[in-house]
């Protein structure tokens, strides 16, 4: 075993040990002589070096890895922009129902009216929640929803002969997927600065961008509302009116929809196309980075371009169909089915009152934390430019800029110190327009008691930073520290190879 590291599964390998018995011995006996029915030049000469490990060892190995990980079930996870709220256990339990899990995607849909009904329910519910006319459930994740949306914009303009509309306006506070999705779809990105105004889009910024690029060249604008700063885009109606006036479209990034359930709808704000991150608003598990799901919604004029397959109602039920001018398939089969089942369950568990309570409490929790922290960790946009008090929606962005300047303690130092205190860190250094940003989103599922204890720790760290910055930096309750990312980038080691320990795997 290599020096001082957590043992890899490959290092437990002992030839002769057997793992999980998938099929009984009586069926295993007859397989060897069939090898001759394969083309000899394709038959492998050696077995792959998969490890031979007993099931108990395997279990302990992965339980240990679980214990070396951090989930919402472990502790408070205030990552801004990520909506790390409780993932209800009922969603996990029922999605494992064999009626979902063991249905093959090629089983004809005519024999699955229950699933069509579920798709149709979800399409209706999401349409109502967002104020859109039609929902497509197929995109695999938020970023893929954005990509689908951008392709729809592209096809829409092509269908109108407006091939010159190639410019997509994206604010500087946007998530990196926005510009990347636009470019992947063949648009050119015009980044506009909102940082100097109220941190949100306003008519001066918009008109300047229109003037600069030419009204006839602009395809659309990508916004999230509330913005990445946790602020409601208060001029949104004027923005959408102006964009439509010049013949352009509005894209809504649903990253922050958790603030708006039952309160306001992107469709009413004038957005033509939206995506929803089910793993945020509808609490399907993040799973350590995926799988997610990114349904999109459109107004009627964009419906002919929706991805294939789409579900619509018929005289006696529902059916799959391919929209007339569909952009095509986004992924295999019918979307992230297991994730959509969880979203369906989540909505059923909440009902109309419950959904609104989600957003109310997400907003109250965020404002409570902001109010208690902002004297120590300043919030750049805590007043409107006209001097009025400014409340956040479901998240806010505090800054360690002052600490950095005065005592040299950065957002990264605070983040690491929080990890040492048993909390997950907030999102740091995003959005890029706030120096030493700490982006905090408590979500609705945390209690006041928990938020108070978080505030206590944050204020304590602030104090420590001021009296003894080195002590703050040298907290070491974590087993693993000082992971060297520069070394990792310069010495690329992204897989284990059998030579590391002398192969036990040949033959």
């Amino acid at each position: 075993m290599a020096a001082n590291q957590s043992k890899l599964i490959f290092e437990y390998d002992v030839e002769g040990r057997h793992g999980t018995q998938v099929v009984g011995g009586m069926r295993n006996g007859r397989v060897e002589d069939h090898k001759r029915r394969l083309p000899q030049n394709l038959v492998a000469s050696e077995r792959l070096p998969l490890p031979q490990v007993g099931e108990l060892e395997l279990t302990r190995h992965y339980v240990k890895l679980a214990q070396d990980s951090f989930g919402i079930d472990t502790g408070f996870y205030p990552l801004g922009s990520c909506t790390m709220k409780y993932n209800p256990k009922a969603c996990e339990r029922y999605v494992k129902h064999p009626g979902f899990a063991n249905t093959h995607p090629h089983q004809p849909i005519e024999s699955l009216p229950g699933f069509l009904r579920m798709f149709a329910d979800l399409q209706d519910w999401l349409a109502d929640m967002t104020g859109m006319d039609q929902i497509s459930l197929t995109p695999a994740a938020g970023a893929q929803g954005e990509f689908a949306g951008m392709l729809i914009f592209k096809r829409y303009f092509e269908s109108r002969g407006e091939h010159q509309r190639t410019v997509m306006i994206v604010p500087d506070s946007a998530h990196g997927t926005n510009p990347a999705s636009a470019v992947l779809s063949g648009f050119e990105v015009a980044e506009v600065k909102c940082a100097d105004a109220d941190g949100i889009m306003n008519m001066d910024i918009l008109n300047a961008a229109i003037e600069k690029h030419g009204a006839e060249r602009i395809a659309g604008i990508m916004l999230t509302n509330p913005s990445t700063l946790g602020t409601f885009e208060k001029d949104i109606l004027a923005v959408s009116e102006r964009m439509h006036e010049i013949g352009a479209l509005l894209y809504y990034d649903g990253a922050n929809l958790n603030a708006l359930l039952g309160i306001a709808r992107p469709g009413d704000m004038g957005f033509d196309l939206i995506h929803i991150n089910t793993h945020k608003t509808l609490s399907t598990p993040h799973g350590g980075g995926g799988p997610g799901s990114g349904p999109i919604g459109v107004k009627q004029h964009l419906a002919p371009f929706l991805p294939h397959p789409h579900v619509r109602s018929t005289s006696d039920g529902f059916e799959f169909y391919r929209p007339e001018q569909s952009i095509g398939r986004m992924k295999l089969f019918h979307g992230q089915f297991g994730i959509l089942v969880r979203a369906w369950i989540y909505i059923l568990l909440h009902g109309p009152d419950g959904l609104r309570r989600i957003s109310e409490n997400a907003i109250i929790n965020a404002n409570y934390l902001q109010a208690r922290l902002k004297d120590h960790y300043p919030v750049r946009y805590d007043k409107w430019s006209d001097g009025r008090d400014r409340y956040c929606m479901h998240e806010f962005v505090a800054s360690c800029g002052r600490l950095k300047k005065e005592v040299g303690v950065s957002a990264k130092d605070i983040a690491k110190a929080l990890l040492n205190s048993g909390f997950h860190a907030p999102t740091t250094y995003f959005p890029l327009i706030i120096e030493e940003a700490l982006m905090i989103e408590p979500t609705e599922t945390e209690s006041k008691e928990l938020l108070d204890s978080f505030v206590d720790v944050m204020l304590g760290l602030h104090h420590t930073a001021r009296v003894d910055a080195d002590k703050l930096r040298n907290l070491d309750n974590l087993r693993v520290t000082q992971l060297d990312e520069t070394y990792a980038a310069r010495h690329i080691d992204v897989r284990w190879q059998p030579e590391e320990q002398g192969s036990a795997a040949a033959g």
């Binding site: 020096a3 899990a101 704000m269 980075g289 397959p309 109309p352």
Partner: protein
């Protein structure tokens, strides 16, 4: 029902500290016209009791086919999911975790992805695997994206070998819209094969890559893949394999056969068929292409472990990705299918090399057994009798009976194959080689199938063809 813990009294206390009287005061920035004046139109809240009933009622409307009576693949394979996979991956530390951006508290998850990458490299014969993508079709599109980048956008044609799964091709076509690339399907000869001469004739200096499916969507193994790959490489184009990794239990890896980029589905390793998603696409390449590989990558590096020098794991080469490169990123992807990749890891560790080989051999043996029973039925023809297959094969039926077999199967609770030209949502897919597989069905078998299962299929086919 909700999962909001704060009481009305606590909310009042919090609002007071914030400095407002009512919740609505926090919404002053929202134009009044936008505030909803009605409830959302969703069903009333369900408790667990009502939820359980709703789930039962929904699934009861469907035809439930037992796993052993599913004789279909087409990119989704009904392998057994060992109990240990479900039990371990259900731990909250795994499924409720976010992307491991804070490596100090994510070492376990990061290590599992490093292990996953190692497994994928073994299975594909490649040097570098990313941390996974949405599914086997989107990672194929990613491979095309990579080819575009490698050739700096100067080669705009993408060639598909005959019989690459239509749904995979369709996804590539969608991604090609933005890249402004052209795709085309190469013609097969009468035995469904791509000849070296036909390939040579199609290649030109504007071909970015050639995509082979291994085994192809009819289930067949192309014996000359090595020669075909070499011809592609000579032309300067990249060799992309869309690969069913279960074959690696018996067969040589794509890397050994000359692939530059290999992608496919890890669904077959411990993930349920789940009516088509979520799945786990893998994407691996030769080392020289690491800079254009989209998606996350986990690396091993030096660190302090319990106060001593040691090794640990981090996300690496992040500067390729959208959160840093923004509009210059290789791709817009900002997730991976970590939970499903973890399941693949647990699966491969649980069966081990000996179990994997046995299971792969059993898939093959079960397919051979069923094939023999079916081709012995009068009227059934092997679509391409001289060709070899792993666990999926294609048969030709007398005019019109293929659809009747599928229909009869549903009546008897069996999924009897897939029509090679019909997609999973029922859309008919046209392609240049369609004439070769008109009256055909493609059947798939795995280790779960028994002699009784294939007997039942053979009996049904016999009954339909004999009119009984």
């Amino acid at each position: 029902m909700t999962f909001v813990p704060n009481t009305a009294a606590q909310r009042a206390e919090m609002l007071k500290l914030i400095g407002v009287e009512r919740f609505e005061d926090l919404l002053v920035a929202i134009p009044p016209d936008l505030i909803m004046q009605r409830q959302l139109l969703v069903p009333e809240a369900h408790g667990e009791v009502e939820l359980g009933r709703a789930v039962e009622a929904l699934t009861a409307q469907n035809l439930r086919i037992p796993p052993g009576r599913v004789f279909a693949g087409g990119g989704s394979y009904m392998h057994h999911v060992p109990s240990v996979v479900d039990e371990i991956s259900s731990r909250g530390e795994f499924y409720t975790a976010y992307t491991p951006y804070q490596p100090e508290v994510s070492q376990g998850y990061l290590q599992s992805i490093y292990e996953y990458q190692s497994y994928i490299c073994m299975l594909t014969g490649m040097d570098i695997s990313n941390a996974s993508g949405y599914d086997g079709a989107t990672t194929l599109a990613d491979a095309v994206l990579m080819s575009n980048y490698v050739h700096k956008g100067k080669r705009k044609r993408v060639l598909f070998a005959p019989f690459v799964n239509a749904e995979f091709r369709n996804v590539v076509d969608t991604y090609a819209i933005g890249m402004e690339m052209e795709t085309e399907v190469l013609s097969a000869d009468s035995s469904g094969r791509l000849t070296v001469d036909a390939l040579r004739g199609a290649l030109s200096e504007d071909v970015a890559c050639v995509i082979f499916q291994y085994p192809d969507c009819l289930g067949y193994l192309e014996e000359e893949l090595e020669q075909l790959s070499a011809v592609v490489r000579e032309s300067g184009a990249l060799v992309v394999f869309s690969f069913y990794p279960y074959t690696a239990g018996l067969l040589r890896t794509p890397g050994e056969l000359g692939a530059d980029i290999v992608c496919g589905e890890a669904q077959c390793f411990g993930n349920y068929v789940n009516y088509g998603g979520p799945y786990c696409g893998f994407l691996a390449c030769r080392e020289e292409f690491v800079r254009v590989l989209p998606g996350r990558l986990i690396g091993r590096t030096v660190c302090q472990r319990d106060g001593e020098p040691g090794m640990g794991f981090v996300m690496t080469l992040q500067a390729r990705e959208q959160h840093i490169r923004r509009n210059k990123a290789m791709s817009n992807i900002c997730s991976n299918q970590a939970l499903l990749a973890l399941r693949a890891c647990i699966y491969l560790g649980s069966v081990g090399r000996n179990g994997f080989r046995q299971l792969a051999a059993l898939c093959h043996a079960n397919a051979l057994e069923a094939h023999e029973k079916l081709v012995n039925i009068s009227g059934v023809q092997d679509a391409f009798p001289e060709r070899h297959f792993f666990n999926e094969f294609t048969l030709r039926f007398p005019g019109g009976t293929a659809a009747a077999i599928r229909q009869r199967g549903l009546q008897e609770g069996m999924l009897c194959g897939i029509h090679p030209l019909v997609e999973s949502d029922g859309t008919l897919n046209s392609e240049s080689n369609a004439g070769l597989v008109g009256d055909c069905l493609t059947f798939a078998f795995t280790e779960i199938h028994t002699t009784e299962d294939s007997d039942a299929l053979a009996r049904l086919v016999w009954e339909v063809l004999s009119g009984s």
